[in-house]
């Protein structure tokens, strides 16, 4: 009964590959997010998705694309992976856009070799 679940937990892949990370929330929240946490633990917003409206952080390369089949799911697809994409990616959700208190998933550690 995990609130925000991500799969896989670990992902090791070669440069140039395309990969996806899945996220599901069972909290009934309207908004979902993807965050990137680098090796220095800095949390950076990548996307927020609310009622089919996608808000993109302009610094995110267009190799990254979120896909939301329904309100409870927000997947992250990454094309042509680069070494610099190695990080921990967190999915999160909230009742409304920037609502009080995000609930985070446990993260996906992506390693590009």
């Amino acid at each position: 009964d995990t609130a925000v679940s991500q799969t896989p937990k670990y992902l090791v892949t070669q440069m140039g590959n395309d990969k996806s990370i899945k996220c599901e929330q069972n909290l009934g929240h309207d908004t979902m997010y993807w965050y990137k946490q680098d090796s220095k633990k800095f949390l950076k917003i990548m996307f927020s998705y609310n009622n089919k409206e996608l808000i993109i952080n302009e610094t995110v390369p267009n190799r990254f694309s979120p896909k939301s089949p329904d309100k409870a799911h927000l997947n992250l697809h990454i094309n042509s992976l680069e070494l610099g994409d190695s990080a921990v990616y967190f999915c999160a959700s909230s009742q409304e856009l920037s609502g009080d208190g995000y609930t985070f998933g446990s993260g996906t550690r992506l390693t590009v070799v």
Binding site: V4, Y33, K40, K41, F42, L43, I45, S48, I55, F90, A92, L97, S98, D100, G101, Y102, T103, F104, G105, S106, G107
Partner: protein
């Protein structure tokens, strides 16, 4: 203006001591200030939060002190325990926009 500064970067405290982490912001439109706790291998979890209309909020051993005029807020952990060892993030929100997170403080509580 959208930044939240956080200090110290790391903190070592003896068991039973007080841990204090400080954050500062510039944007006066921020209206909600949460603290998140992150254990290794886990996602950040909401610990405690405050709004700018109060100067202090306490939940158990955790207290947020908020100074609106100075645009600063801090987390105090009383009677720190080894189980409190984690990375702590302060954050700020401008309603309708995404949260802005501080860079994090790695707390180690020695037994």
């Amino acid at each position: 203006q959208q930044q939240v500064k956080q200090s110290p970067q790391s903190l070592i405290v003896q068991k039973g001591g007080i841990s204090i982490i400080n954050c500062a912001y510039e944007n006066t439109a921020f209206d909600y200030f949460p603290w998140y706790q992150q254990f290794p291998g886990k996602g950040p979890a909401l610990l405690i939060a405050i709004r700018p209309d109060v100067s202090e909020k306490k939940e158990g051993r955790f207290t947020i002190s908020f100074n609106k005029s100075a645009k600063q807020f801090s987390l105090h952990i009383m009677d720190s325990q080894p189980g409190d060892s984690a990375t702590y993030f302060c954050a700020a929100r401008n309603y309708g926009q995404n949260f802005v997170f501080g860079p994090g403080t790695r707390l180690s509580v020695l037994p």
